[in-house]
């Protein structure tokens, strides 16, 4: 069976999890991805700079972000190394990087240089803050982008410190892959390559789409302060309540009239209760009272009870789970969102799998992250037709590893 992207060669010069994962997603669908790791000192990112990921754990993240790639290690501090990089770029359909613009210029790998040799190249860059503007050269750190986006102060309860989710970068990952595919579509139509940029700032902003857009349309102080969970606009939507065993229940039933009869029954309220018998009362004059009533009602039973009752009545409500839930969830495995794999050195492991299902072009795991330079010789032979002697020489000189 043909693979979706089997006709593509992708050269990946990235150092970060979120950007590396973009080309792994292309590799999942059959693109031939070459991960270039620099041997030059100080290049290659520090996976544990925030202290959250001790080196042992980092391997698992690399096995996700660098899967389905072959690895080439080359000294970009040496002109001979940079030459190899440029020669490979001239063979590639897609070049993906997250390096600073100034560094790319030093390497002779900015868009103008690479597109001169290969005019139909799709040149994608994951940046911190976009290709234009006064802050275009700020470091590409998700934390900085999240801080700029405006959501951190309003995510928690009033009085609590701002919250960093770490999810903003994941939008950027998919935006990079999507931008590449859109540019490839244009290339197939016209033969024209181009630059693609997806920034962490754009990704974080896009994840906050509806809140940002609501603010743009309305403005006002209410969007700038966190809301108390017991002072939401709709007691039946966007809210959380604790159950008896401390597990939290969450409700999303914005059009309350539709859900009210079965919801009232589940929480033990009288459908005809004159305080709550229409949407205007529930979301208007008796809103706070209804929240207090629900707060007390949900405390009467444990989370498992509520899940069962919600399920029976097909309510849009559920119990808030921790990561152990998807880890053991058959639904997540059946759809291959999570996969079990046999790791050569670590044994059986669970990993994130494939978020997109395609009937004719199934994603699959062909290989885990390459060791540094694992395929250097093979790549130079295959793509640049270097003879063995030249490869030995480059190895001996430390240009490749």
């Amino acid at each position: 069976m043909s693979r979706v992207l089997e006709d593509l060669l992708v050269l990946d010069l990235t150092t970060e999890f979120w950007s590396g994962l973009a080309s792994a997603m292309l590799g999942d669908f059959g693109a031939r991805v070459i991960r270039v790791e620099s041997l030059a000192a100080g290049e290659g990112g520090d996976a544990n700079r925030d202290g959250q990921h001790p080196p042992t754990d980092w391997n698992y993240l690399a096995d996700l972000a660098q899967r389905n790639k072959r690895g080439l290690a080359v000294d970009l501090g040496e002109e001979a190394g940079r030459e190899i990089l440029r020669a490979l770029a001239a063979r590639a359909d897609v070049f993906l990087t997250d390096l600073p613009a100034a560094r790319l210029a030093e390497l002779g790998c900015d868009y103008s240089a690479l597109s001169a040799a290969r005019p139909d190249l799709v040149y994608a860059r994951g940046s911190g803050f976009g290709p234009r503007g006064p802050d275009r050269d700020l470091p590409a750190l998700d934390e900085l982008a999240a801080a700029r986006t405006g959501m951190m102060p309003i995510l928690p309860q009033p009085g609590q410190p701002p919250v960093y989710t770490g999810s903003g970068q994941m939008y950027t990952t998919v935006m990079l892959a999507l931008g590449i595919l859109i540019a490839l579509h244009h290339r197939a139509d016209t033969g024209e390559g181009q630059e693609v940029d997806a920034s962490l700032f754009a990704g974080n902003m896009y994840g906050a789409s509806l809140d940002l857009q609501a603010y743009l349309a309305m403005g006002g102080e209410r969007f700038l302060q966190p809301e108390s969970r017991l002072d939401k606009g709709n007691p039946m939507s966007g809210t959380v309540y604790p159950s008896r065993d401390g597990r939290w229940v969450t409700l999303t039933m914005p059009d309350t009239d539709r859900w009210w009869p079965s919801f009232a029954e589940v929480v033990g309220l009288d459908v005809a209760d004159p305080r709550f018998d229409d949407h205007e009362k529930r979301c208007g004059e008796h809103r706070l009272e209804m929240m207090r009533v629900l707060e007390a009602a949900f405390r009467k039973h444990p989370g498992a009870h509520w899940r069962q009752r919600f399920d029976e009545k097909q309510l849009s409500a559920d119990v808030i789970e921790a990561y152990s839930y998807p880890a053991g969830d058959e639904q997540a495995h059946r759809n291959r969102y999570l996969v079990d794999l046999e790791h050569p050195s670590l044994g059986p492991l669970k990993s994130l799998g494939f978020p997109i299902h395609m009937s004719d072009g199934t994603a699959r795991l062909d290989r885990l992250a390459p060791c540094r330079g694992q395929h250097s010789a093979e790549i130079l032979q295959e793509l640049l037709e270097y003879p063995d002697e030249k490869i030995f020489e480059l190895e001996a000189e430390g240009v490749i590893a």
Binding site: F29, R49, Q52, L61, G130, G133, P139, E143, L144, R148, T149, G150, M152, I154, L155, P161, S167, M170, M175, L178, G179, I182, H186, Q194, F201, A202, M205, Y206, G207, A208, Q213, L216, A217, M218, G219, F223, L224, G233, P242, W248, T250, T252, P254, H279, D318, V319, A322, Y323, Y325, P326, A327, Q331, R334, N335, L338, L352, M358, S359, D360, G361
Partner: protein
Amino acid sequence: MAKALKGVRVIDLTVWFQGPVCSQHLADFGAEVIKVERPVHGDQGRGVRSIKALPVGDWNQYFLVINRNKKSMALDLKRQEGRDILYRLVEKSDVFLSNLAMENLAAWDLGYEKLSEINPRLVYATNTGYGHRGAVSKPSFDMTVQALTGLMARLGEPGEPPIYLGMGSGDAHGGLMSALGIMLALHQRRRTGRGQYVDASLYGAQLFLGAPTLQAFLATGDERYSEQQARTAAPNPLWNRYRARDQWLFLCLENDDARFATLCESLDRSDLAGDPHFASAEKRRKNGPELVAALDAILAGRDAAEWMQRWRPLGIAASPIQNLEDVAEDPQAWENEYFVKTHCDEVNREVSVRGLPITLGKTPGSVETLGPELGQDTELILADTLGYSWDEIGELKSKGAIP
């Protein structure tokens, strides 16, 4: 300017947010997106004004922005005549996208088998709630699905309620995944000549929103990745949130001696760098809460802008933690067209909208029009695209297939 997806026709049978925002990406880059809606009320997103969970301004920013650059066709798919129109549209389209319940699509005979038989080149895309396989069938709104992924439970200070990432945050990711799936299928179609079935679910996409911590949890089982962590217990105290006198800051500094010394100097507290409790990376980690407390006290002494002014020339990575008002005025967002201005017919003035998060050098996206009026393009599409005569269109109206 040239559009990358010119010539791609998309039938967009979607409601609310995930489906519409998926086709919005395609429309931004020039695809002809035809939103097919029920004749009465249309997409539920048109009716959010009455629903108190979603604040709406004097124009319906929720619906109009995610449905920008699209056409609207009103069809009664409960009638055979309405479905026959859709089948004719399928013959002439590249993509069919829906986030309706699979049971609805089956009941209206709009399943993959049927539509791909009409047009084998069709890319048939769905946005299910929990995946196209498996037994789970329950309502799938953004927050209730996010609840299952584990994303919410790990956020916030210990003991505080779980935290939702923001309105439509999971749908937004699902929409991107779906657009990527469609583009992948269009790519493969050039070689194979065949369309295929593509699904991107809300659950699958949201699991990937947690990738940086979920992947580590899956491999290690370490609860540190799945439970709430106190700010004061940050494993690298130099990579943390701090409150300046007027505003919170995010400081992002690797935990090494040279950087710590630079930081202490910038705080006029070189003595801190010499404090034996903080004399090495390991000690700063081990005595983290103490160091966080010290930094809290120091940083509270000046405004965020003052600290930023000192740090910028030293290359200390940090940012004030902005609010929505700040970002709405952030020149970086405007210069990159992450926000743009466009005309809104509903209020007959220029409004500010979410712009173009993906920047393409030669074929950039654009916002040409905001969301369409319900059914505004029905007759034109019937006549021009599908070749119905005006008599036939009159007959379809009398039968109630179109309004």
